[in-house]
């Protein structure tokens, strides 16, 4: 009885990890192992960078009660358009980037104001933004594509021909820098886990099943090493990976270690109780959307850098990819539940499904249909577990 309870909760917690493993195995077989080629792993990261960045912000909105931001795709396009036009008129990369981030933040604050203090439903406030900023992107770009050839900008944000971190240590076909960085990351990860464990043990905190924790740590360490090896044997670290890692680390930290992070969960779990606990719940909503705008600005930068141009069609459907990544990654559609690690898994899962089907030569239309089914299935799991409890 007890044993069964543990297994069920283990399954529940790791449902999407298991799904991810199954999907990887499936595509390894159906593509004859091609999906695991270094080049494909590299592409996976570069192509889906925006999903990781946007989903980190979207998670905060969803945590506050299943609220979403539909405007992010248009904001990505709009900030990208502003940056593209600025750089084409000779503004420096630094100023352009600052303006793009500030414009994103300002848009987020604008929408957050209506949502938090005027109680406009988020769906509607951001639907308005979705139309408005798509239109304004066209206005900024005059309806045309604008090329970007600012070297500094492309180098820093991973665009153009040199979208990889150069190999400072070696010069052969195997990228030594990449491998060394991977090893340092692995060592840091294991060391931090160990230090945390020792500290908690000293304070006499019950840490649950130690062998399970170490098994998890080892698997993740091995995974980091393997990915760095794969990347090293192609061209090295894609520049965009640095930005993804930075965003995920920062937001992972915010959601699990800071008071404001805790408040997102609290508001989504029970807004009234949170307000009566002396927390300014309106400010929490505002921060969620302001932050989403900021990250949309960053995603805009990454998007135009990757394409070396700004176009009025960029960012279409990005909002849905971010939302889907969150829900597939286990965020509750009712709010209050969800993790950054879940977002990583959700975004990776979608990326792999896309890429696997592309390699298999399945048309983009079917790919969308499959994405839809995966999303429905993931949310179904959430709803069914909720029901079971009630």
């Amino acid at each position: 009885m007890m044993k069964e309870g543990i297994n069920v909760s283990f399954l529940k917690k790791n449902m999407m990890v298991i799904a991810l493993v199954i999907v990887v195995i499936f595509f390894s077989i159906s593509t004859g192992g091609k999906i695991l080629y270094a080049q494909n792993i590299n592409n996976l990261i570069s192509q889906n960078g925006y999903v990781f960045v946007l989903a980190a912000g979207m998670l905060l909105c969803i945590l506050t009660g299943g609220n979403i931001d539909l405007a992010v795709g248009s904001v990505v396009c709009f900030t990208g358009a502003i940056g593209g036009v600025m750089m084409s008129r000779g503004y420096s990369a630094g100023i352009s980037v600052a303006v793009m981030l500030l414009v994103g933040l300002a848009i987020g604050m604008f929408q957050g104001y209506w949502i938090a203090w005027i109680s406009v439903p988020p769906f509607i406030a951001t639907l308005a933004g979705m139309y408005a900023f798509r239109g304004l992107s066209n206005v900024v770009l005059n309806g045309y594509a604008v090329g970007i050839n600012n070297e500094t900008f492309l180098r820093i944000f991973g665009g153009g021909a040199d979208c990889y971190i150069p190999d400072y240590l070696g010069s052969g076909s195997f990228n030594l820098t990449c491998m060394v960085v991977g090893m340092i990351c692995t060592a840091l990860f294991v060391l931090m886990t160990l230090l945390g464990w020792v500290k908690r043990n000293k304070r006499g905190i019950d840490q649950g099943n130690a062998s399970l924790m170490w098994a998890r740590t080892l698997i993740i360490a091995a995974l980091i090493l393997w990915i760095s090896f794969e990347l090293a044997s192609y061209k090295g670290i894609p520049t965009v990976l640095l930005w993804i890692a930075l965003v995920l680390l920062v937001y992972g930290y915010i959601t699990s270690y800071t008071a404001i992070g805790r408040y997102f969960y609290a508001v989504g779990g029970n807004e009234k109780a949170t307000r009566l606990s002396g927390i300014n719940t309106k400010l929490v909503y505002f921060i969620a959307y302001a932050n989403m705008g900021f990250l949309a600005g960053l995603a805009g930068i990454l998007t135009v850098a990757r394409a070396s141009s700004s176009q009025p069609t960029y960012g279409q459907g990005y909002e849905m990819d971010a939302i889907a990544a969150c829900f597939i990654g286990g965020a509750s559609a009712y709010g209050g539940v969800g993790k950054i690690t879940g977002v990583i898994i959700g975004a990776t899962l979608m990326g792999i499904i896309n890429q696997g089907m592309s390699i298999m030569g399945i048309s983009a239309n079917y790919q969308r249909a499959v994405k839809g089914i995966v999303l429905l299935a993931a949310v179904l799991v959430d709803v069914m577990f909720k029901k079971e409890k009630a």
């Binding site: 500290k199 908690r200 304070r203 905190i205 019950d206 699990s256 270690y257 800071t258 008071a259 404001i260 805790r262 969960y265 609290a266 779990g269 029970n270 009234k272 109780a273 949170t274 307000r275 009566l276 606990s277 002396g278 927390i279 300014n280 509750s332 209050g336 539940v337 409890k389």
Partner: protein, 513 residues
């Protein structure tokens, strides 16, 4: 003897961990008005929910015999088809719809695919006349007052061809005049042969309209009193309602050292947030000393929760007037609980699931929520310390669970209540307002919570306990305020208070003398 229309035999209904009804028997004759009286939580509403099919057949044991036949109701529709219609205490009307639309909601005239609005409104108007309303049925419900809304509910019941009408506290939100009109309307229906069951706390109304009175206590029917001449002594009913032995259900309050006045509220008036013309708390004044446990007794709807929440950073109501003094100094709290917490006030809600806890989060997260600042530096939470603190409270309050990582939603009511208390104790308040701290939890857990309250007072905190359970107020408090119909109608020392004189005070105030 008249024909028995309804007989409920040996009804037993259990909720997880609680026996809400224990072998209840009820007989209602055709054409009579039968009153059900008892304290909150005695089981009156549960019994009516069994009767109307809200708790479907199979979730309780026992038989319902109606009109000579055994009935197994699975939904409200089943019981309504037989003419049993219940009018709940909370009005179930949609404000933005017209009276007519409301009356036939779920019971539409014409066809499902095409509602016959002419019939709807002409029939609605006919029933409205029967209850003495002159409004057109096309008027929106939000445009008429509460008293008239209650009449619309009755017209709605009549439209369902009611034979047995159940009214659950129909006058709780009505003023004197509207209440009297409603009761007279009931007497009129009786003349036309309708059978009615009325649940009410207002005993003067009981003696005015009821032919028979059944007393419910602790999930059992105690007695049925005849009131054919409408002259029953109210004390006689009260004795039936509260007549239980009290032995050792409360820890002794010994060696109480009461200090200076900690918090004082004067001439406190609060209006309803949506209907600002309604006064919810009327000119209330009270104080609490350090180390003192003050009870506020009142029935549901008396304005107790509203009083407490309005003190707690105006988290309820509008246009609050009055002064709040803490340690003798005037304090003007901003309209936010944050400010109240800063002034060391804690409000432990009566609605732990709705307003108190985050069920989807762990005990740990819930415990720290109201005082995260104490656990964090520069907004970064020390999670190990958080764990240790919540472990400490888990031990101190005897929260029965393997770990503080357990989700609060999986705990029993008593343990949830303890987590809620832990949360507010960790906020380190000087003044604790506990609103129905033992609602819906078993006797053992109640005793433990009483002990915690005593410890808090012994540590010099000021504790206000709001309760609608008389024995609890009598057993726990040093001093008692009595609240009725949005006013504080009395104050007495616990040593002088008895169940009878508290009830008498409420009744006297209700009669308006």
């Amino acid at each position: 003897m008249a024909k028995i229309l309804l007989e409920m035999k040996n009804i037993t209904k259990e909720f997880p961990g609680v026996k809400a009804l224990d072998n209840v028997n009820l007989q209602v004759e055709e054409g009579e008005i039968h009153a059900l009286v008892g304290e909150n939580g005695a089981g009156k509403s549960t019994l009516m929910n069994v009767l109307s099919g809200i708790y479907p057949h199979g979730t309780y044991t026992g038989d319902i015999v109606y009109d000579g036949k055994v009935c197994n109701f699975h939904t409200i529709k089943d019981s309504e088809a037989k003419g049993i219609v219940i009018i709940h205490q909370e009005l179930a009307l949609v404000p933005e719809m017209s009276i007519g639309e409301n009356m036939y909601l779920g019971n539409e005239r014409g066809f499902k695919a095409r509602i016959d609005w002419d019939t709807t409104y002409s029939e609605a108007d006919r029933y409205l006349k029967m209850v003495g309303l002159t409004e057109s049925s096309k008027v929106l419900v939000k445009e008429i007052g509460t008293g008239k809304q209650q009449l619309v509910e009755i017209a709605k019941a009549l439209a369902k061809k009611a034979r047995l009408l159940i009214l659950d506290e129909p006058t709780s939100s009505l003023n004197e005049e509207d209440s009297r009109a409603l009761l007279d309307l009931m007497l009129g229906f009786k003349k036309q042969g309708m059978t009615m069951i009325i649940i009410t706390h207002k005993l003067n109304e009981v003696s005015y309209v009821a032919d028979k009175i059944t007393v419910v206590r602790d999930g059992s029917t105690i007695e049925t009193i005849d009131n054919a001449n409408h002259d029953i002594d109210e004390d006689r009913i009260i004795r039936g309602m509260v007549g239980r032995e009290i032995t050792n259900r409360f820890p002794k309050r010994e060696g109480v050292k009461v200090g200076d006045i900690n918090m004082e509220v004067e001439h406190w008036t609060v209006h309803h947030p949506l209907y600002p013309e309604r006064v919810v708390v009327n000119d209330a004044s009270l104080y609490v000393r350090k180390g003192e446990v003050v009870g506020i007794y009142g029935l549901m709807g008396a304005g107790r929760t509203e009083l407490a929440m309005s003190i707690f950073g105006q988290s309820y109501g509008l246009l609050t007037q009055g002064t709040l003094k803490i340690d003798g100094k005037d304090v003007r709290l901003k309209k936010s609980p944050m400010d109240a917490i800063r002034h060391k006030i804690a409000y432990v809600t009566e609605d732990r699931k709705g307003n108190g806890l985050i069920l989807s989060q762990s005990i740990k997260v819930n415990t720290s929520l109201a005082n995260l600042n104490a656990l964090s530096t520069a907004s970064v939470i020390d999670k190990d310390k958080e764990y240790q603190v919540s472990e400490e409270y888990r031990g101190k309050l005897k929260i029965k669970t393997p770990s503080v990582e357990q989700l609060v939603g999986n705990l029993s009511g008593g343990n949830q209540q303890k987590v809620l208390l832990a949360k507010w104790m960790f906020a380190e308040p000087d003044i604790l307002i506990l609103d129905e701290p033992t609602r819906g939890i078993d006797v053992g857990a109640k005793y433990e919570i009483y002990c915690i309250i005593n410890d808090l007072a012994a540590a010099g905190k000021s504790v206000i306990v709001i309760s609608s359970e008389l024995p609890e107020v009598l057993g726990m408090s040093d001093r008692i305020y009595i609240m009725n119909a949005s006013r504080i109608v009395g104050e007495m020392k616990a040593s002088e208070a008895t169940q009878e004189n508290i009830m008498a005070q409420i009744l006297r105030s209700g009669r308006g003398d």
